[in-house]
C-alpha cells in the first residue's frame, strides 16, 4: 500500500438512518473513512453495528422507504454520490463501484444459467453482439479461475458449489472494472479451505486492477490477511481505525481490545477466554456518552456523559476514547 496512491473513495461524516415505526434507528451515525487505490480497508464489527448499512449507503441502496442518508458525503473520485439522481447512480453501480454479498445463493438468479447472468452484466457495459459477449463472459469466468468455463456457462446456479457461485458473483462484480469493490462478508458461507482460495483470488484481482476494497467482516483472521487498514465499528460509529499491524499489535480502544481478546485463537491454547459483559446498545435508543461505556472496564463519569472525540494515537491511527493518551500526529 502506497500512501502516495490517490484516494478513490472518501466517506465524510455519513449519517444513514432508518425511520421505523418504533423510532429512528441510527444505523450509520457519523462515519468517515478513505480508501486509496489498491488498498483494502477492513470494516469490522458485530451484527447491528451498522457495517452492512454502510456498504448499502455508499451504493445508495438503503432499504426504502425507511432508509435515508440524512447527512454527509460519499466521494467517489471526487464526485459526491449522495447528491446523484437514481438514474446517475445506475451508471455508477456495477461500473465504478461494485458489491459482493454474503450469500451466493441469493445473489444469483436460480432460473437463469450462469452464462446468461454474466452476459447480462456485460451487456450493460459493452454494446457487443451475442457471440462477442459470450466470449467476454467466458473470459470473465476464466479470470476468476472457474475451470472449463465453456461448460459452466450453460450450468444453473444450483448445480454449482458455494465457492464456485461466489466466484461467478465476483466475476459479475468486477466485469465493469470498478474502482471500488465492497465485499460484505463474502466468505462467511464458505468452507474454510474454499475461503482461502477465494480470498487469494480477490487479492490477485486487486493487484491486477488496482481496485480499492472495502471489506466488511467480523473475522479478525480475514482482516489480518486481507486488509491494509482497519476501522472498528460499534453502534453506528467508528471507534478505532488504523493500519492493520498497528491495530493488532496495540489496540487502543477498549472495545477493540476486548473484542480481540474474546476471540479464541487457533494458534495458542488459553485457559480462559475473557468475554465482554452485556450486549451492544439498541440503535434507536443510544446512550448519551460513549456508546461502549456501559460495557467498558475503564469507563468513568466523563465517558458516560460525553461522547469522546476521535484522537490520534499513532501514525494514521486514531481512537474515539477519553482514556487514550493522544500522540502528536506525525505526518
Amino acid at each position: 500500500m502506497n500512501t502516495a496512491a490517490p484516494v478513490v473513495l472518501e466517506v465524510k461524516d455519513l449519517h444513514a438512518y432508518l425511520f421505523t415505526r418504533w423510532g429512528v434507528v441510527r444505523a450509520v451515525d457519523g462515519l468517515s473513512f478513505a480508501i486509496r487505490e489498491g488498498e483494502t480497508l477492513g470494516l469490522v464489527g458485530e451484527s447491528g453495528c451498522g457495517k452492512t448499512m454502510t456498504g448499502l449507503a455508499v451504493l445508495r441502496l438503503l432499504p426504502e422507504p425507511a432508509g435515508r442518508i440524512v447527512r454527509g458525503q460519499v466521494l467517489l473520485e471526487g464526485e459526491d454520490l449522495v447528491t446523484k439522481s437514481e438514474a446517475e447512480m445506475r451508471q455508477v453501480r456495477g461500473r465504478r463501484i461494485s458489491m459482493i454479498l454474503q450469500d451466493p445463493q441469493t445473489s444469483l438468479n436460480p432460473v437463469f444459467t450462469i452464462g446468461d447472468q454474466v452476459v447480462e452484466a456485460l451487456r450493460m457495459l459493452h454494446g457487443d453482439g451475442a457471440r462477442a459477449l459470450s466470449h467476454r463472459a467466458e473470459e470473465a469466468l476464466r479470470s476468476v479461475k472457474v475451470a472449463a468455463p465453456e461448460q459452466r456457462m450453460r450450468a444453473y446456479p444450483h448445480q454449482m458449489s458455494g465457492g464456485m457461485k461466489q466466484r461467478v458473483v465476483g466475476a459479475i462484480a468486477v466485469a465493469g472494472e470498478p474502482r471500488v469493490l465492497i465485499a460484505d462478508e463474502p466468505t462467511t458461507a464458505l468452507d474454510v479451505t474454499i475461503q482461502l482460495q477465494y480470498l487469494t483470488l480477490l487479492k490477485e484481482i486487486q493487484a491486477r486492477t488496482r481496485l480499492a476494497m472495502l471489506f466488511i467482516t467480523h473475522d479478525f483472521g480475514i482482516v489480518a490477511r486481507m486488509c491494509d487498514r482497519v476501522a472498528v465499528m460499534y453502534a453506528g460509529r467508528i471507534v478505532e481505525s488504523g493500519p492493520t499491524r498497528a491495530l493488532f499489535r496495540a489496540p487502543r480502544h477498549p472495545y477493540t481490545e476486548a473484542l480481540m481478546a474474546s476471540v479464541p485463537r487457533m494458534e495458542a491454547s488459553v485457559e480462559r477466554l475473557p468475554s465482554i459483559e452485556g450486549q451492544p446498545p439498541s440503535l434507536h435508543d443510544l446512550p448519551a456518552g460513549c456508546r461502549f461505556a456501559p460495557r467498558c472496564g475503564y469507563a468513568d463519569d466523563r465517558c458516560r456523559r460525553e461522547y469522546p472525540p476521535t484522537l490520534p494515537v499513532g501514525p494514521a491511527h486514531e481512537a474515539a476514547c477519553w482514556r487514550v493518551e493522544p500522540s502528536p500526529p506525525s505526518r
Binding site: W22, G48, P63, S282
Partner: protein, 301 residues
C-alpha cells in the same frame, strides 16, 4: 433487507417489535372497519332474525305481490325492500336467508377445515407413502369441477341443509389439506421439531404441541378467505335448484326466483345478489387484513 433489520439487536429484554406485538395495536386507522361492520351486521341479523325481521319470511300475501322497494314509486314502508311474486317480504327473506348462509358456511368450514387440517398435518409430518397417498387423494378431489360434484351429491342425497354442508365440506377439505401440508413441511425443518424428538416426544405430541400451533395462523387466514367461497357455492347450488328447498329462504334461491322477473321486478334478484356480493367482499377483506396482521408480527420477531 429483512435480514439486516432482524439483526438489529437491542440488549436484554424484548425487542421493540416484540413489545409492540404484545401491546394492543394502536394504529386504529388501519383496521378494516367496513368489513368488521358488515360482518357484525350479518352475524347479528342472522342470530336475531326472528326479532329483527319485520315479517315472516314465508307468509304469503298475494294482494301485495311484486311491490317495489320503499324508495320507488309504488313502494311502501311496510315492505322496505319490496315483495316477491307470492307477496313475501323481501327484507325478511333476506334476513332469514342470512341465517342459512351463515349456518352452511360455519358447518362446512368447521367440517371441511377440520378434516383438511388433520389430513394436512398427518400428511406433511409423516411424509413418505402416507403423504404420497393422501396427496393423490387431494389432487383427485381438487380436479373435480366444484359445482358438478355439489350437484351430484345434492341429487343423490336429496336437498337440505345437511346435504349442502356435506357437499361443501367434500369440496373444500382438499384445499386446506394442501396448504396446511405446505406449512407443515416448513415447520418440520425447524430445529425445535428435531429437538422435540431428542427430548423424547412422541409423534403425536409433536404434531399437537409443536406443529399445529405453528400452522394455526395460516389455517385461520385460509378459513376466513374461504367463507366467501362457501357462501357463493351455497348460493349457486340453491340457484341451480339443488340447494335449500323452499319455502326456507336462501339468497341463491332468491336470485334464481328473481331471474325471470329481472326486467319488471329487478329488486327480486338484485337485492339478494348485492347482499351476497357485499358479504363475500367483506370476508375477503377481513381475511386479507388478518393475514397481514398476523404475518409481519411474526416475521419481525
Amino acid at each position: 433487507m429483512a435480514r439486516v433489520e432482524e439483526r438489529i439487536d437491542v440488549g436484554f429484554g424484548p425487542s421493540p417489535a416484540a413489545e409492540a406485538a404484545s401491546r394492543p395495536r394502536g394504529d386504529l386507522a388501519r383496521l378494516p372497519w367496513i368489513s368488521f361492520f358488515i360482518i357484525a351486521v350479518l352475524i347479528v341479523v342472522a342470530v336475531l332474525a326472528p326479532l329483527v325481521a319485520p315479517h315472516s319470511p314465508t307468509e304469503q300475501s298475494l294482494p301485495d305481490k311484486l311491490t317495489p322497494p320503499a324508495w320507488q314509486e309504488g313502494g311502501s314502508t311496510k315492505h322496505l325492500l319490496g315483495t316477491d311474486i307470492l307477496g313475501r317480504d323481501v327484507l325478511s327473506r333476506l334476513i332469514y336467508g342470512a341465517r342459512v348462509s351463515l349456518i352452511v358456511a360455519a358447518a362446512a368450514l368447521l367440517a371441511g377445515g377440520g378434516v383438511g387440517l388433520m389430513v394436512g398435518i398427518v400428511s406433511g409430518y409423516l411424509g413418505g407413502r402416507v403423504d404420497s397417498f393422501l396427496m393423490r387423494v387431494v389432487d383427485a378431489t381438487l380436479t373435480f369441477p366444484t359445482i358438478l360434484i355439489a350437484l351430484l351429491l345434492a341429487v343423490s342425497l336429496g336437498q337440505g341443509l345437511q346435504t349442502i354442508a356435506i357437499a361443501i365440506t367434500v369440496l373444500i377439505w382438499a384445499r386446506f389439506a394442501r396448504v396446511v401440508r405446505g406449512e407443515v413441511l416448513a415447520v418440520k425443518t425447524r430445529d425445535f421439531v428435531a429437538l422435540a424428538r431428542v427430548h423424547g416426544c412422541s409423534h403425536l405430541r409433536i404434531m399437537a404441541i409443536h406443529i399445529v400451533p405453528n400452522v394455526l395462523n395460516t389455517f385461520m387466514v385460509l378459513l376466513t378467505l374461504h367463507i366467501g367461497f362457501v357462501i357463493i357455492v351455497e348460493a349457486s347450488l340453491s340457484f341451480l335448484g339443488a340447494g335449500i328447498p323452499p319455502p326456507t329462504p336462501s339468497w341463491g334461491q332468491m336470485v334464481a326466483d328473481g331471474r325471470s322477473h329481472i326486467a319488471s321486478a329487478w329488486w327480486l334478484a338484485v337485492v339478494p345478489g348485492a347482499a351476497i356480493m357485499l358479504v363475500v367482499l367483506a370476508f375477503n377483506l377481513f381475511g386479507d387484513w388478518l393475514r397481514d396482521w398476523l404475518d409481519p408480527r411474526l416475521r419481525q420477531v
